[in-house]
Amino acid sequence: MVQATGSGEVAILGVTKRFGPTTAVENLDLTIPHGSYCCLLGPSGCGKTTILRMIAGHEKPTAGDIRIGGQSVLGLPQIQRGTAMMFQSYALFPHRSVLDNVAFALKMRGAGTADRHAKARELLTKVQLEKFADRLPAQLSGGQQQRVALARALVTDPSALLLDEPLSALDPFLRIRMREELKHFQRRLGISFIHVTHSQDEALALADLVIVMNAGRIEQLAPARTVFDQPGTAFVARFIGGHNVFACTVEAADGAGARLRGPHGIAIATARRGLTPGSAIHVALRTDRIRIKRAAQRLMAVGAGGGIDMPRGSLPSRVAAVEYQGAVVKLRLEADWGGELTVTQPDQSFYVAPVAEGDIVAIEWDDSDVHIVG
């Protein structure tokens, strides 16, 4: 009945989901390999939870197919899909002891009391809660409740565990500890974890595979490092944070790279080859790759096109805000050309030559750090 040993590869094929007039998920294709930690990341309303609920069987797709371990699960009851879900607020049954919560699925299946309690105790030992078997959920801390929810979901031997914002109910310290635990369990169990979150940190920290979603579509599907270092779209660059994003047009391209014209006519050079002159693109520039130089005078030079040409990307800007964040200092700069930039600097290097609000600074970056996001 339960595909305990089956592959947990989850394939979503051309799935669309509409709720009345609104489309939550639009013609989506996605394959989540067996045994991977996968995060569905996006702002609220992007369709990530809907996808999870369709995999679990709590929503029916309007169109398309969902396959788990190669078999279509459309129309199959939740329990026969080989998935288990961990709910946002854990949904532990408040009237049942921890042991009975974990044993619930076995009871539904008709297992005897001794059998199901033995198996439940085994799982509680796995999550180090064997001492709390007789407590009620309300008598546990948030972190302990999460582990009970995990044990309860694992009792059916799922091939994929679906987690709906599992850390959002915890305070920040606990959240970081519990996410470490989730990762640890996923490694040990070797099954797929499909984790829905709106937190970039969480996705980057946990996922082998990050799927960034927006408005019912996939913006980017890539390993965590790629998503952060080479965001695929302007949306991803803005959502994942740590980037400045500009709309640009390609002025000229040659074998060594391209010359771009940014907002308000600023010139940006990139080492990226193969761009079509005249096309509109976005560039992303990581906030920690921008260098700041204290400037005594304005370095501006007005070029022939009415734009501003800078020697190798250095731009004069006014410091609008300085925010100390501990390990880094975050600066908001208002450039002479009207644009706005965020720059982060390690605190150590910032305090070597600190700048204050209102100072005029010159900034520069390497052409190789100018990343084209399409």
Partner: protein, 277 residues
Amino acid sequence: MRSADGSRPWTFYFFAAFFTLFVMFLYGPMTVIYILSFQGPQGGMTFPMNGFSLEWFQSLFAQKRVGEIAGAFVRSIELALVVAVITVVLSVVAGLAFRRRFRGSAFVFYLAIASLIMPGLFVGLGIALSFRLIGVDTRWYTSGLGAQLTWTLPFGLLIMFAVLGRFNRAYEEAATDLGATSWQRVREVTLPILLPGIIGVTLFGLTLSYDELARTALGVGSQNTLPLEIWAMTTTITSPALYAVGAVTTAVSFVVIITALTAIALIQRRRARIVQE
């Protein structure tokens, strides 16, 4: 709330005075009735007390003196139990059904709730007239029961709406996820979690029926319920036995309410105990 210099605002005194009046109106007369129900054998219906006795309580069970009090009491309890059972079953089922937002659900809801704002006496009158029209005798367990349900069902439904409004559907999804059939889900998860609310609905059904007067009055038939019997007694009985009836019936109400509230409190406390290390 005290202001910075420790004095209380005038509103405090206003509402404190109002609350005192409220308490006096509610409990003052009741206390007087309780005390007078222990009136001595020679005492009258007003103060002063002429000794203390249980004379009037004993007289309740002697048919000749106070008519049909005992029968009416039993009848009222039976009716209240039937009303409570029907109310709780239908309210819970209807409450669960209304979560689906079926076509016309709002219309059905208002149709049911409208009963609360209709004058009770006319509802009872209408029911009595209708029974006469179709040639069926009015009885406490037919027309009387129906009249009381027009009062308790909408109440029960409203309470279930409030209870279900706080119910997290993830519990049910979790149960389904773990392989519960729809019946197992209701029995093992939904009903136990809703239990305090369900006890509340039962309690309302019991007490609303037990002291219902307006709707029952005209449709009860030849045998009175307790409130009607007491109502009749106020005009015919001129002894402290009337007070003894009042004391006993109120005591029954209190027992019911305290039992139900204790049950709810125990369930809530069991679920909400804080970690004690």
